[in-house]
Amino acid sequence: MVEPQFLGRTGIAMDDLLNDFLAETAEILAEAGGAIVAWEADPADRAQLDAIFRLVHTIKGSSGFLALPRVTALSHAAEDALDQVRRGNRPANATLVTGVLGILDRLGDLCTALSQNGVEPAGDDRDVIGALAGDIPEDAPFEVAGVPLRRDDDFSAELQSWRSIRVPLPLLDSVMTGVTDIVLARNEFARMLRESGADLSVIASFDRLSDSIAGMRQSVSQMRMQRIDKLFAPLPRIVRDLAKDMGKKIAFQTSGGEVELDREMMENIRDPLIHIVRNAIDHGIEPLEDRVAAGKDITATISVSARQSGNQIEIEVRDDGRGLSPDALTAKAIASRLLTATEARALAPKDKLDLIFRPGFSTAAKITSVSGRGVGMDIVKANVEKIGGIVELRNEEGRGLAILLRVPMTLTIISGLMVRAAGQYFAIPRGAVREILLENGDTVRIDQLGGGELATVRGEQFPLLRLENILGRERDEADDSDDRALVIVRPGQGQSYALSVAAIHDHEELVIKPAAPMIMATGLYAGTTLPDNGRPVLLLDVQGLLATAAIDASETGRSHDRMAEAEAEAAAARNAVQLLLFRDMNNRVRGVRLSVIERVEEVPAKALFESAGRVQAQIGDDIFPVHASALPGGEGTLKLLRLYDGRSVLCYPIAEVIDIVRLPDAVQPSAAPGLIAGVVLVGGDPVELIDPFWLMEQYAAGAPALRRPLCRLADDHDGWGGNFLAPILRNAGYRVVMVGDASDEAPDVLLCLTEEGEPCGHVDGDVPVIRLRTSIAAAGPEDATVYRYDRQALLDALRRQVGGESA
């Protein structure tokens, strides 16, 4: 127990206390600013008022203890005024809110001075205190176009969970290091246990220990996490002040504040986020009269939302302002000599938008006090990319702009794919990996083009980089060329390339640390990591590899060459039969012909679900049947073999891929047809061979054809088509669009819901047409129309026209 009287101004304990106070106060000020703006929008919100009162009261209490008279006086004044409001003696109006915000600003200034000098600077605060206590004119409550900033229950829940303690970061890091050491020691110990042939009871209790270590590692990594709410807290205040300054009315919303992010990461996106929000207010939102002229609501909306998607956090800032104009951007770029008119003409619309990321670019016609601070979108992009994130633009000219920041879950722990090249291991951030394929798989074709290489995967072309070449190493002779794999990497928006590696190892959760400066300077590596085996591994910088290889990995303008792909497939079919060996979910080693495997997919366990008595998997936008009798439980991810017969896909869950071998000639066939076609000997061990024919047969009826025919509905005036017909069609395996929907694809069939006797106005060349009639009776024997509630006749007619699946 430390007695307060022992705390001299110069004591070490005092410094600690002061630091804690400053850190805590900075947090409170950010939070209180947001809360006050929310409360201003809804002065009747008693809970919000109480929350603000408590925050100010906390500052007052701590400052009194530390003998900071100015801070105490200021917080006391704010507390007093808020208390008057609580007691109903004073109305909540703009004067009060501005006054309290003024006090918070002054407190912030004082804290900055305190952190620099360690003593409270002398000064007079009567101005801000006077402004708060001053005249109480009976003006109408200030109308701010504010909307509840977050749900009230959300806010009070946060306050209740606000009990926390401060821990110095070095201590936290040392705990993390300690846990990593324990994990390494555990792995070493586990290996020794296995080799020593210890008895089962020892192994069982070691496993228990091992599990709790894993749990501990998990908790420790969570210690670094913080709710993204903290990042959003200062935004309402910024929006309010700026909107007021610029005479704009803005409703500000946040959502997804419960998403958690690494603290260090949070620091890195704080400024970019604020900058984007400022930009939205300054440039995005039009002046009131322009909004009226454009037929928009006078009150603009800016929303900031966060959500977790896989290993990434997506933070979106969306406004309903004027959006970006590609032409204006180009003109601006030419004017500021960032590019020539000739270059500008060659730019795709997307590239034109990306001009805002060019250094030295500013979209505002004149530099305003708000955005023209020398921080541009280029800095935003650089900051976000520095932490492994990407910035995406979703622009609707005239209707608004959404800027999406995608950042990896944590700076320190990422999911990494381990690959081998030149006889050593490297890690690739899993977030940047789009797909993994075997280099000599059927879906891959590699062409030599004038010294360069190009990989074509299912008609899509990727520049091919060989990791050994980039690293300047020779291939390891011990590597089997059948193991070579292509990792399709997407380092950033609109870029992708194929990275050829000697083999794929596995993937691991990796603690990433920065490498020494001279190693980072190579531009090839993003850091080092120590996987469970205790040998350091370099994390590849997927963007830096591109720069080193000097390859344009932009996806725009790449052609899709289906003919050539078909050719490649035919060529691959002539090759020897290969067998993919894997361990199934019950730990049995089994094999399947490699040629029926489209690829190995890694999905979160959540992607599997049970429907109509069958296990299905959702992969991207598609749903595929899974060969499993029950849902595999548990968290984490799951590997699925994608079997593809040219028409449909079936997923087969496996524990891990073991190897790819030549299929031996001697197969001992099974007695009866079933999942197992027979047994082969691979390296002296029996391996059960999966029969893909039998497997596909089991699921053939339910497997969706990959190319689902497109139906277009025309003349759906009363919505019947959309509401009644479309669901049936979708069930039956068709895709449905309405006339007028944006769709580049030519429909396979047109369904006309036109009234009897009227011509269908949307007939387009040779697209087959089916007309639906509303009366049950046909007009005559020649009547080719179909009664709209005759499901079977309709589906039959569709199948005759386009040959889709019937349910």
């Binding site: 030149a422 690293l471 300047g472 020494a516 400066p517 350091p536 591994v537």
Partner: protein, 145 residues
Amino acid sequence: MMDKLYLIARIADTRVALRSRAINSVVTVGTPVEVPAAPPHVAGLFALRSRVFTLIDPHVVIGLPAVPVAPGQRVIVVDVAEHGYALLADEIEDVCFIDAAETRIAGKLLPGWARVADAMIEHQGSSLLVVDPSNFITLPALKAA
């Protein structure tokens, strides 16, 4: 007091006295992990408990050809600018307290040594170059280019 403490070692075929202030420890390494495309004096990476260290070959820094890392070789672990490095040592002799003062280097050294050596010191009847371990971390710009 710490200022007078030196680690006597043979580095890049030369006996030197390393100022001990920056030295973290002396350990043995197994086979390091190579860093392709890194500057030539980076001999690889190795892990010591949960930290990853960058192995530096002082031979290259001095301008001599690189030497292969022998398993079990002793290295001098130093911290420079919050990064951990390890200098390959040919031989570690002793940590000792040298009371003599550091003196200005007399005579002409090879260019590589002239760059890293700070001073000379007299110890047990012989003159040793005094080197700050951090001088080995960076390569001269012309060499790195």
